[in-house]
């Protein structure tokens, strides 16, 4: 009963502008409220967040003059904290959060398919070398190879564009690849990443 009277007195002082009163209230109920939140969320950082949000709500309600003094300050604060804990679990249910631990690291399952800087540089070098090699091919083979590889055209489209039969287009592509391999072997070029 003594506690309730004290709280009511402090709340009243705070509403009347005594900032020291809220400090006393926070320190007085810090352990009880924090332990309650912790028992539900089992995480120190989340406990701190919910504790902070709880008192921010308390402060706003008190300053707005919406608080109804019935000698139940602590149960009221606990109720706010309880609702915020429920909000926290609801939010987490909508957006599940996975954290790694010693036994399981999420990054062993999730991979980034992007090349690292070194491999990216090698790839760019290979691409530019390949362009130089392609330029050495006869004009008709070079044309077919570029359409097929760089423009992703079908052999039907290539045949139409170069005004030859599809078999000729296929043949040119075949010889383009054979000649490209020959140039690579002749010059001992390594094209691997």
């Amino acid at each position: 009963m003594q506690t309730q009277i004290d709280d009511a007195f402090l709340v009243s002082n705070y509403i009347n502008g005594d900032e020291r009163a809220i400090e006393i209230l926070i320190n007085k109920h810090n352990q009880r409220l924090s332990s309650y939140i912790y028992s539900k969320v089992l995480d120190s950082a989340i406990t701190e967040d919910i504790f902070q949000d709880t008192f921010i709500k308390v402060i706003r309600t008190l300053k707005r003059g919406s608080y109804n003094e019935e000698g139940k300050f602590l149960p009221w604060v606990m109720r706010i904290a309880h609702n915020l804990i429920i909000d926290h679990f609801r939010k987490n249910k909508r957006m599940p959060k996975y954290e790694g631990n010693k036994e399981f690291n999420i990054f062993s399952v999730l991979t980034d398919d992007k090349l690292n800087v070194e491999k990216q540089l090698i790839k760019e070098q290979i691409d530019s070398d390949l362009e130089i090699l392609i330029e050495k091919l006869p004009k008709d083979q070079k044309e077919v190879l570029k359409m097929r590889i760089y423009q992703d055209m079908s052999f039907n489209e290539i045949a139409e564009n170069t005004e030859v039969s599809i078999n000729t287009a296929l043949g040119r592509m075949r010889y383009a690849l054979i000649n490209l391999r020959k140039i690579i072997e002749k010059n001992n070029i390594v094209l691997t990443n």
């Binding site: 900032e19 809220i22 926070i26 332990s35 089992l42 406990t47 701190e48 902070q52 921010i56 402060i59």
Partner: protein, 47 residues
């Protein structure tokens, strides 16, 4: 008899919010200014 004590003892841990958190709340309280003008409640934060 029904088991009424907590299943997980570890959950009953005494913790306290950090002094920085308490200080943040106190600063928020000092900075928060609420005015009622013509039936409207206006909130302002002086920080």
């Amino acid at each position: 008899m029904e088991q009424i004590y907590p299943k997980y003892q570890k959950q009953c841990k005494l913790v306290k919010a950090k002094p920085q958190t308490v200080q943040f709340i106190l600063n928020y309280s000092k900075a928060l200014h609420i005015q009622k003008i013509r039936g409207m409640t206006l909130e302002s934060n002086l920080n």
